[in-house]
Symmetry: C2
Subunit: 395 residues, 2 copies
């Protein structure tokens, strides 16, 4: 397995397009990823009770055996739009399906942007022929660009994996950047691969990979109505991936690495983020305790602001640990800041933590609960005045 330069069209038989259709004032706002042959598809979606129309529809479409394309618009989430919103998403998949030669169920739909407004359907419909005629295999980054909202940089990654004498590739694009919370985030990610993977197995692999990547990141604890991760596997590499064989291990390993790369980019581009923070929780009673502690720290505004301020005020980390639903034993807890012990069995080690211990872009927190064998890693960003400004103004 190696990480390689390249975008969403690196796997064989995938095409991309990204155009401006007028949902946004200036930037690209409509993207299309297409497989030249029917592909197996799997998806993971937000667990928010308020699901946007494209989420409701794509989940339903995924009952079908194969799919040809994913269409994504940015600038409007098509959420809280009721039956009319669902009808809009259906109309898009229907029209696009007829242009690329498949039934509407073959076209998965994603949206991201403002909530509570109808899509400008005439603009979108009018632009679909141009979108299809713009499809290409070049590494143009057009699709990655067209799915961005408040992202400040484009997010793509690709891997190549040798399996025997043949090789497969996997590639993905994603967008953040606020409302990022496990299970999941207003995060869209589209992943393509030319491996041949049966639909049920593809879903299993995606779940496994997302658990250690997209579901282990948080920016602000808010959970979006539109989150979606979709993977398309078109089989054109000629390499079969089947359960519990060696090739499956390699495939999942690469899918994990790809998802983790993409998820970390989302954290690095968290709204207003100036720090990339890794929180390791070890020695927990069980995985759910480790996860609750990690997320409680990661989502604490006081923790996030102290990271922004290069301020090693570890008492706030202890306070966050102690605020979880199942009591922890404070007299067993150790806390390390960038490798330096700050709390030893519940007692502050010294007043003399170097003031500059948090300088630099990366912060690593390690919490040892010393109560068991379970552990986890959570990635997050800091909370800056810029985050507030972005989200106070966005509408």
């Amino acid at each position: 397995m190696k990480r390689i330069r390249g975008g969403i069209t690196l796997p064989k038989g995938f095409f991309q397009a990204g155009i401006h259709c007028g949902i946004k004032k200036r930037n690209l706002d409509l993207a299309l990823i297409l497989s030249e042959v029917p592909a197996a598809a799997a998806g993971l979606f937000t667990s928010n009770s308020f699901k946007a129309a494209p989420v409701i529809l794509s989940k339903k479409y995924l009952d079908k055996k194969s799919h040809r394309a994913v269409i994504i618009n940015s600038g409007n989430a098509n959420c809280l739009t009721g039956k009319a919103g669902i009808a809009d998403s259906i109309a898009i998949s229907d029209k696009l399906g007829s242009l690329i030669g498949c039934r509407k169920e073959g076209v998965l739909v994603c949206s991201t942007g403002i909530i509570g407004k109808r899509l400008p359907m005439s603009k979108i419909k009018k632009s679909l022929p141009l979108l299809v005629s713009s499809l290409h295999r070049a590494h143009s980054k057009k699709a990655a660009n067209a799915i961005m909202t408040t992202d400040t940089f484009l997010k793509e990654a690709a891997y190549s994996v040798k399996i025997g004498r043949k090789s497969i590739s996997l590639a993905g694009i994603t967008k953040g950047a606020g409302m990022i919370e496990p299970n999941m985030a207003t995060m869209l990610a589209i992943i393509t691969t030319d491996a041949r993977v049966e639909k049920r197995l593809l879903k299993k692999a995606l779940k496994e990979a997302a658990g250690e990547s997209f579901n282990s990141i948080t920016i602000d604890g808010d959970m979006s109505t539109n989150d979606a991760i979709i993977v398309l596997a078109n089989g054109l590499s000629g390499v079969d991936i089947s359960e519990s064989n060696w090739a499956y291990m390699k495939f999942v390993e690469a899918l994990k690495a790809l998802c983790l790369d993409l998820a970390k980019m989302v954290v690095k581009d968290g709204e207003g983020a100036t720090k990339f923070i890794k929180i390791e929780v070890i020695g927990a009673k069980d995985f759910s305790q480790a996860r609750e502690v990690g997320l409680k720290i990661a989502n604490s505004p006081l923790f996030k602001t102290m990271c922004y301020g290069d301020n090693p005020n570890f008492g706030r980390i202890a306070a966050a640990c102690g605020a979880v639903s199942r009591p922890i034993n404070p007299a067993k807890v150790d806390i390390y800041l960038n490798g330096r012990k700050a709390l030893d069995k519940g007692v502050a080690v010294s007043d003399k933590l170097p003031r500059n211990i948090f300088r630099g872009k990366n912060i690593k927190i390690r919490v040892c609960l010393n109560s068991g064998m379970a552990q986890t890693v959570i990635f997050t960003s800091d909370l800056s005045p810029e985050y507030v400004k972005i989200n106070a103004a966005y509408s």
Copy 2:
């Protein structure tokens, strides 16, 4: 019952002092509230697993039948200080007890401020005689002043209640201002009353009053290690409050009003707060659902920043509602912003919400789940760049 001007010494037989002992550079940092006769006392404390030394100690002291005083220092939380920290708090209560003529268990102890540092004991011990000799009954606001940390204004309230031909009074002081979260907040509140209330009944009344006040406010969802609400009832009014009689109803009513006044002041003085936000959740299946929905909205950074920005982006309120642990039915939810319907049965009402609907200091959100009869009210503040600046710098 009427709200009256006056501070913590309004009830008969209470004295206050507030001095500078040197924990902080300049401001008052040591407060004392004393009853001239032994008083019944009750307390509610943080549910954080990491409890500060004074919390551990005061909880233990409250097993005793009567108490004389509460001593509070600001500038240092005496937390994560292990056994040495407990010994420090004991030494303070011991020395003060000998100065005022009671055993150490008669002196309850509170601390607030930075976590992870030992108290400057020699400065504190040296100042205790001055603290005691400064005690007075005037409305000097000295004690209320000495408990402040990042508070920007002093918080006190008082009520007088006629019961037959006699009257009782209740008064309280409190401090906020970050780390405010139900169950509870780095919030200290000391309440005095000259009613005669049996200890067990006093605890019951305090719990009832706190539920609708201190436990229904949140600033940033962080939970402190030092929270404490303590009430002292010295009986000097000569009015007996006993269970389920009319006087008890009047007493609880006044205690609730007092606590709610103090709690609202804490929210208004939330770090960097520019808005006072009231969130009503009605039509929930049960109280815990109402509460989870209310707190999820109140603690959402995206919701808080939109309030700061006068930005009626109600999709964020819906997204927060939908992110609670038990699924809600989105097709039943109505949302009102300052009295104006924005979401009707899960569908956005109109694009034309007035842009200025959030102008002004007060924001009122009403969420109707239309799924049952339970309801609650949560008070919170917005999230401003100033909050970030305060907490990035504080140490």
